[in-house]
């Protein structure tokens, strides 16, 4: 870490999680102390909490542009919302045994789908091109051919690694035309992309509190009225029996407040935050050779940029950034302890020479332009330092034909 007495560390990992807004902390605190009632109780302790719960629901409703507040179901996280949505669609339509999703979903969807495949379900994973874009013709074809067999389409609104935005509203309409349910994992998109769900064909949507300055461990499943549904957790009548379990009141109140703030900051995200992101990317690309942004740069979240640094490895970059007081994340295999670099980078066909060196910078409204300049200043020497160590890098550029010059005898 840099000297903590002089400079604050720069946090550019907001797609992983965000700081809880101080205003959000303030509204949630009483729910640990004086407002400890159970919202289901008849007495006044519970009654008051019940009213707050309704207010939080309305705050979420407003941000999402939802018609009825009863369409908001509070859950424990984005992952639970994703699982509930997909499993509900399968349970409610047992005769339908196929799912459409994409190769670049978050593990919250992909791992579940892989698991379901083992249980005999068929999963159609839409591929992406080199910029991470979907082929809607492929989607239309599968929808048409398999319409009667598809239980649900689940496509993320925006990708967590690259920020690439998917045309989910259009895709939801296509699904509706084929009479197929549509779910979107909007965990990264909520608060950054304006939404008006009542005027879309989206049936279910997942969001997660900790990506928009509410605490970890609270999420929402939007469930359009009339959508066939089977709960994941059965038990008490909380959330109208659609998600049993006593409400995590403090976090729900916090999420409500965070949604209200997110609505207010939506414009700032798409102007000021976007300007900082653009400056960061431009500054890095201008001063470092052999690096490029990944994903669909014309069509991505305003806060995200993912840059691939060739011939060096992501974890090593992160460790040096961390030492310089900069927090980011990487799609390298080594950061996750797996052997393959990120499935998102592989799906886009990013070459191995670059895929291991992808770094995601994800901003929030708490970042400043000064911080961007600090990062722009720090990155070139970090990259140079690692390239100097790399057997794939010569005096001032990649060695020619690395496969030949660097030649392990057994390769």
């Amino acid at each position: 870490m840099s000297d903590p007495t002089t400079l604050k560390d720069v946090y550019l990992d907001n797609n992983a999680t965000t700081m809880v807004d101080p205003a959000v902390v303030e509204v949630m605190l009483p729910y640990f102390t004086e407002q400890y009632g159970n919202p289901s109780s008849i007495h006044s302790f519970g009654n008051q909490v019940g009213r707050s719960l309704k207010k939080a629901r309305q705050q979420v409703q407003a941000l999402l542009g939802v018609e009825h507040d009863s369409e908001i179901i509070f859950t424990s996280c984005g992952t639970e919302s994703d699982s509930t949505a997909i499993l509900s669609a399968l349970k409610a339509q047992p005769e339908r045994k196929e799912i459409i999703t994409t190769v670049v979903e978050h593990p919250a969807v992909l791992s579940l789908c892989d698991y379901l495949e083992k249980d005999g379900y068929t999963v159609h994973k839409l591929k992406v091109d080199s910029k991470g874009r979907l082929d809607l013709d492929e989607y239309a074809r599968i929808l048409t051919e398999r319409a009667d067999h598809i239980a649900v389409v689940s496509v993320m609104w925006a990708n967590n690694e690259t920020g690439t935005i998917f045309p989910v509203e259009e895709m939801a309409t296509m699904a509706a035309d084929a009479e197929v349910m549509f779910h979107t994992d909007a965990v990264q998109a909520v608060g950054k992309i304006p939404m008006d769900l009542k005027n879309t064909d989206i049936d279910m949507l997942s969001l997660s509190g900790h990506k928009l300055h509410a605490p970890k461990g609270v999420g929402v499943l939007y469930l359009r009225r009339g959508t066939r549904y089977r709960p994941l957790l059965r038990g008490g009548h909380q959330e109208r029996g659609r998600r049993a379990g006593t409400e995590n009141m403090a976090s729900i109140i916090a999420l409500g407040k965070a949604c209200e703030l997110a609505a207010e900051k939506m414009a700032y995200e798409n102007t000021e935050v976007k300007a900082m992101r653009d400056r960061l990317q431009e500054g890095i690309l201008a001063s470092v050779s052999h690096c490029f942004p990944t994903g669909d740069v014309e069509n991505r979240l305003p806060n995200t940029c993912n840059i691939a640094f060739e011939y060096i490895e992501g974890e090593a970059i992160l460790m040096l950034l961390n030492k310089a007081g900069i927090a980011a994340s990487s799609g390298s295999a080594c950061t996750s302890g797996s052997l393959e670099p990120s499935h998102v980078m592989m799906a886009m066909g990013i070459p191995y020479t670059a895929a291991h060196g992808t770094i995601r910078f994800s901003l929030s409204c708490y970042n400043t332009m000064d911080e961007m300049e600090r990062v722009i200043e720090a990155v070139p020497s970090i990259v140079a330092q690692l390239r100097k160590l790399s057997p794939y890098w010569g005096e001032d550029g990649p060695i020619e034909d690395p496969e030949k010059l660097f030649a392990p005898t057994y390769a």
Binding site: E315, A316, K323, S332, A333, L339, K388, P391, P402, Y410
Partner: protein
């Protein structure tokens, strides 16, 4: 981020001997950019004494790959080639005050680069036989390839078997689902179905029925069974560049000789207790497994 030791961090932030060596006498290249890890080790070797006078590295890889390379160059400088070859991946990891299980392969890569460099110096061909798979058991750093090979070679059928042979699954149990998947896949190759219940029944059965005492067995049969257990564990040790041989049997004591990477390292005691357990299961009697030098018991005929 990983919980790296201070020594790992020190070697990563201030790597020793990180440079290209133009006049190297020996070059060892291992890894590839595909796997995200590649290391070139270069040595300056005294032609007369075979002492490594200088060592340098270039590494493409994560923090622990760079740290492993750096510490390796420090460890082998001043050693003869033969002495250097005795450095195991465990030694590299220990010198770094430990590596997370997911990162042990970085130390293996260091050791392989060293072997490749020595082979290069001596004009030999070095063959890498180390295929790596996805890490399944994080407690004991066992990967999928190792489990698959062991299941195939020994006709294993249950998660318990896999744990006995490879240690995988012997810790937190989180990987049991993954091990069952491997069993299902490998058993399917021979048209067999994985039966999860088999292991549970066996577990209860072995508790209810006392093991058949080995006394009913002829001496010859008994030795044969002991040998068979030794043969079964050998491939696994050889993969870690070690080996085990049976030296002698005296009453309930079985003398074995552990060589190579497994002797002396902290895994040795785990290995011995694994062999002992396997023998007891096979023989149905209590035996004590004692490691000895290769010529020990055979000549002295010691008793336990």
């Amino acid at each position: 981020m990983w919980d790296y030791s201070d020594t790992v961090k020190e070697h990563f932030f201030n790597p020793k001997n990180a440079r290209a060596m133009d006049d190297a006498d020996a070059i060892g290249d291992v890894g590839s950019i595909q796997c995200g890890d590649a290391l070139r080790l270069t040595l300056k070797v005294n032609a007369e004494s075979e002492v490594i006078e200088d060592a340098a590295f270039q590494t493409f890889g994560c923090g622990s790959a760079i740290a492993s390379s750096s510490v390796l160059t420090e460890m082998i400088k001043g050693k003869t080639l033969d002495e250097a070859l005795k450095v195991t991946n465990q030694d590299i990891a220990s010198e770094l005050d430990g590596l997370p299980p997911e990162k042990m392969h970085c130390s293996v890569m260091g050791r392989e680069a060293l072997q490749a460099a020595v082979a290069n110096y001596r004009g030999e061909v070095w063959k890498d036989d180390h295929e790596e798979g996805a890490l399944i058991c994080k407690c004991f750093a066992v990967d999928a390839v190792m489990i698959e090979d062991t299941v195939r070679a020994n006709n294993l059928r249950t998660v318990e078997d896999v744990t006995n042979y490879t240690k995988a699954g012997g810790g937190c149990s989180a990987c049991h689902e993954g091990i069952e998947e491997i069993l299902t896949r490998v058993l399917a190759e021979t048209g067999e179905a994985f039966n999860a219940r088999a292991s549970r029944q066996k577990l209860h059965a072995s508790k209810e029925k006392p093991p058949v005492p080995g006394k009913g067995m002829s001496n010859l049969e008994r030795i044969k069974r002991i040998e068979r257990v030794i043969e079964m564990v050998r491939p696994q040790l050889q993969r870690d560049r070690g080996d085990v041989t049976l030296v002698d049997v005296d009453g309930d004591t079985v003398f074995i000789n552990l060589v190579g990477a497994c002797s002396g390292c902290q895994m040795a005691s785990l290995t011995i207790s694994g062999i002992q357990q396997q023998m007891m299961e096979d023989l149905g009697e209590f035996v004590r497994v004692v490691p000895v030098p290769a010529n020990h018991a055979a000549t002295t005929g010691v008793t336990a």
